[in-house]
Amino acid sequence: MNSTKIHLSKLDLHYGKQHILKNIESEIPEKKITVILGPSGCGKTSLLRCMNRLTDLHPDAHLSGKILIDGTDILSSNEDITNIRKMMGLLAQRPYPLPMNIFNNVAYGLRISGRKKKKYLHHRVEHYLKLVNLWDEVKDRLHDPAVALSIGQQQRLCLARGLAVDPQIILADEPTSALDPQSSQAIEEKFMELKEAYTIVIVTHILRQAKRIADYVIFMYMGEVIEQGPVNEFFENPKQEKTKEYLKGMFY
């Protein structure tokens, strides 16, 4: 049976007086693609951001409960926050390349963690750019600014940047929403390959995308988890009224 990678327990998130996440309970399986589904504003992005504690950035945010990763609670552990975050690569809605050249975008995380040897960096950068199928397109212009790439290329570059620090988990927030169909497909295919080695959590509101790539689905509505389960069960035999309505396209 699958082992659990991330265990969310009694998770509550407040922004000031707003109650964003309400008592979230969930187990995210290892080396599978878990899709968090739900209408916009339901808290799915917030849930994703809790997992690597980006909610810390918001001065009014208050997070309580437990997030266990391999059994360790990242909300209360003494572990350095940067090491926790490094375990999780993040892919945002739109690509945000760092203000530096293509090579340094990928090497950034490595340099941050103290790997400075040129040869090593070169080797790793090439490896990860190949992994996201970007190497052939950029190998002659590694020192051009990253913003010169197309949006689709930028998103793959961001994926390579995230992978370069050797995370165990990939968190992706609607990673294809800004991309054209071809680039989206390329990213989706990449995820299908990557789940061999990584636990992947994807936020999306596209039902068909969820159906295509998910192994496990978490459906959220108004800050609560309504229903969760393996993908087939979820789509073919939903148990909750809300889920059925959503699958019929009743609300967005």
């Binding site: 950035l57 975050r85 490094k86 690569g89 760092l98 203000p99 370069a164």
Partner: protein, 301 residues
Amino acid sequence: MRKMQVRLSRAMRNNIHGFWMVICLALVIILPVTMAAGLYWKSSVLLHENSLLSLVFSKEWKPISGQFGFYPFIISSVWVTMAALLFAAPICLLTSIHLTQYAKRWVLKVMHPVIDILAGIPSVIFGLWGILVVVPFIGNYLGPWLGKQVSGYSILAGAIVLAIMIIPFVLNILIEVFKNIPDELTEASLSVGATRWQTVKFVLLKKGMPGIVAAFGLGMSRAFGETIAVLMVVGNVTRIPTGLIQPGYPLPALIANNYGEMMSIPLYDSALMLSALILFVVVLIFNLISRYIIIQCDEKC
């Protein structure tokens, strides 16, 4: 019939209003041109007799004998401005990063009115504060400590007062710069394991660099033109300054101090208007460059 009349008057009001608008707009647009022309017209008398370059680089300032060398004043201005920027820049940069990246709610709540009030304080009040606090401090403590007998009225006093004056101005622009950098960039950097400070150092400063340069450019031109506060504490001695605790005599102070007698000595008024013209042009150029950088940056982002 009545209705027709109402229509007409409405249309007429619209026209009158439109006419007034165009006049006001024209006023705004021609104002800088008129200013430059007016100042040039007054200063051309002096420029007829001496070349601009010889005036700017001549060290002799003896209005009675018709010698108008601006060099000491320009150098004083440059010293005061640079020193002020040097003091203000790190404080503004650190504070703006603190306020946009780290600060808790209560700090923001305190700092917002503080910056606003500081920005609203008139320059004469800053000057008075300089006389009450900064000048005695330099004269009584810093000077003796450095082994020098000084009055305290000095380039340094001017620079400190100026630095405080431009802090709220530069700070507001810098806060705007850092706020305009998308949060996702910070998040991207953090999620590969960077600390907050590393993110600031490697990503935010780099991304915000054009804006930071522009903010300092605008701050510098503000400092360059500031008159009264500097005049009150800088000493006003016509001499090329040799050190920070020596008195100086910046260009704006020259204009403000001598307006009384300028009509009595030939060419004097022309020389002072030329100083104003130099100020105008220098500030305009700095502003233009900074604004250009900001506009370029806005379009790209």
